[in-house]
């Protein structure tokens, strides 16, 4: 007798692998190395900051102040000490004091977004997201929590500026079609463009979502990775109960492997609902202890953040300048670890099929892993996201290969 099978809900989840994750897996299994594997994949499809290991590793390798209570059960949504330390950090860019008791820690921002989707939506209900947007949201909001994502298209014509009008229109259209929309989600600074939203535009979205009676989730995972000459406004500066802010250590501390995300909310029921789920996705006390140690040195944090931003500006400029030589423009990032590049002119036609064909040429033939725009749910084929915060030898190699592909196409 064969073994019993799995549930339909699990089968549905398994049947929906993330394309971003798959490409990442393939690329990292055969990585480019200038000497040992010169034909290997140059992986610039993953949004990571690889420029600051030299600043981090000495701290992470050092002996730690582990105490016995760290080895035992504690508050499963984050220790008071850890949440207080993160609150102090967020205060430094929030524009007003952040209260650690309004924070919930979970094992990664994906876990936080999944918990929020579960908390805000019934199965099948919709979250409106200005598009293009980070393709990982497809997993975070839908894979297990079974919310649906509805893009609110932004326009390349005005540099993908955030538009409260676009958000309101998308919510109203979805409602007119009979879909319940309990929430809107933003990524700020924006992934994939790296743009920092104007304070007024952000305020208009806060006001619009309040008027619409929907929650607003703001993913600020790049809040402290702003390198452009621009002022970042955190949604933490709004006192509204319907605004829920997500932050984590993956990008701003270049600790994607440490899997630590946090929610800040002033909404008691949302706080309780995500806290309950943190039981199933907690952060190790050990990791919290390590991060409390890092955050406890305010001078180091300030220096690290400034130096990281300086290096991001340099790596971004390298990509933009080299692309300009190839005649390729970008959306003009001001934050984050990537550039959103415009290869529309390289498509044989303005379709997703043509974009896929170009991506395959880059991935399969040139072994460059960059993220195809289709994964970001925009409405214009031909945009790609390339991570610049990587070894400049790798970035240069990728751009050289890209140059050869584009030259060959002409």
């Amino acid at each position: 007798m064969s073994a019993p099978g799995i549930s339909t809900r699990a089968a549905r989840m398994v049947g929906e692998p993330s394309h971003l994750v798959e490409a990442h897996t393939t690329a990292v299994a055969d990585p480019f190395d200038p000497q040992r594997n010169p034909q290997g994949y140059v992986n610039l499809g993953t949004a990571e900051n690889e420029l600051v290991s030299d600043l981090l590793l000495p701290r992470l390798r050092a002996a730690r102040e582990v105490v016995a209570s760290d080895t035992h059960y504690g508050s499963l949504h984050g220790t008071d000490e850890f949440r207080s330390a993160v609150a102090d950090l967020l205060t430094s860019h929030a524009g007003r004091p952040v209260d650690g008791s309004r924070l919930v820690a979970m094992s990664g921002t994906s876990a936080v977004l999944d918990a929020l989707a579960y908390a805000l939506c019934e199965e099948g209900e919709a979250v409106v997201v200005p598009a293009p947007f980070y393709g990982g949201f497809d997993v975070d909001f839908t894979a297990r929590a079974r919310a649906r994502l509805v893009p609110a298209p932004l326009s390349s014509g005005d540099g993908f500026a955030l538009s409260a009008r676009a958000v309101t229109d998308a919510v109203e259209q979805a409602r007119a079609a009979g879909t319940t929309v309990p929430a809107v989600a933003l990524i700020s600074p924006h992934n994939p463009t790296g743009r920092v939203y104007a304070a007024d535009a952000l305020r208009e979205v806060v006001d619009a979502t309040r008027a619409l009676g929907v929650h607003l989730v703001v993913d600020e995972i790049y809040a402290r990775s702003v390198f452009g000459d621009v002022v970042f406004t955190s949604a933490l500066s709004f006192e509204d109960e319907h605004v829920h802010v997500v932050w984590g250590f993956a990008k701003d501390f270049a600790l994607s492997g440490y899997k630590v995300g946090l929610l800040h909310t002033r909404h008691d029921d949302v706080l309780a609902a995500v806290t309950a789920q943190a039981y199933l996705s907690p952060v190790s006390n050990d990791v919290q202890r390590t991060l409390v140690g890092l955050l406890g040195d305010a001078r180091w944090v300030a220096d690290f953040t400034a130096e990281s931003a300086r290096r991001l500006a340099v790596s971004h400029a390298l990509v933009v300048d080299r692309l300009a030589e190839l005649g390729v423009e970008t959306a003009g990032a001001q934050a984050g670890v990537f550039a959103w590049i415009d290869l529309r002119a390289q498509l044989t036609e303005q379709t997703w099929a043509a974009e896929r064909a170009l991506w395959s040429k880059l991935f399969d033939d040139a072994h460059i892993n960059i993220a195809a725009g289709e994964l970001f749910h925009g409405d214009e084929p031909g945009w790609f996201r390339i991570t610049h915060a990587a070894d400049p030898v790798h970035v240069t190699e990728a751009l050289d290969r890209l140059g050869r592909v584009l030259a060959h196409d002409e």
Copy 2:
């Protein structure tokens, strides 16, 4: 305008707090200390091993071999290196080689059980569990995954011996009542009795579940905490695809605060379904690195395990002997960190209400936190679970207080 509310599914989850967790929270907020807080709560309600910190802390505090890749994204269901190290460890008690590629790591065994419940059951379907059983299963299987638990009562008359007959009867009765039962779950060694199952009894349950066409989940979180003169048989020794084994570092390495659980399965679809969910509940690379370091020293692991078992035997004997002086018997633990004690004679009547009254007297008046049997879904009121693997000063204080409560009742 007031902020929008939360989903009904989240509200349902928030509305079901764990009694075990609540009592723990109250007790740890006002802890007994012989000098500073002699009236505080003695917390023996939480299943932790507090006897081995001296062996662990020097290792955990030491400098670590963190490498740059640890800080970056990796395999979200556990690195190959970590799963291989755990496979080697499990091999040492499994009775046959364990393959790391059949393991999935998640942030705690609760996360693994939640993922299994999601993978094996549709919402509302039932998992049969020999009772009494660990009350935390109520959260793990039902809180978010929304499976139901159906007890298969074991009998105090034969020392709560595992019975394939009881399991089969419970499955068949549930089916007769129209309930779909995709799985049976065991805890082995048993929580709350601390009994080690006879190999034959375990094999009979494996055979019975195969015949019934249901999955068998075996939670072996105390596999390496056997101190009695008895042979533990791991379900890893069965090669059946329908058998899924859960293990973690919380008990056997006294690292409940590190939140690391693992699934072993030979079932490809179950492996894929839990791997997909590990994306939302991953273990930090940092924690994996630390544990690879611990496990890499096989001599230390062997010594630690032997010394831990020796100390558990001593702490168990202290409780059993002191209880005997009070005229109280136990189920005779052979493993784990607790004793299952028989206070049936102390109840005013053989009801759950009377058990609750006794628990309240112990908790509210005597400030002893032990776990009431009702939470374990048995069918006989009057049993309580007391953790012995704690500071002997605390254990002695609790037993003195218990003695006074019992004397006062007579």
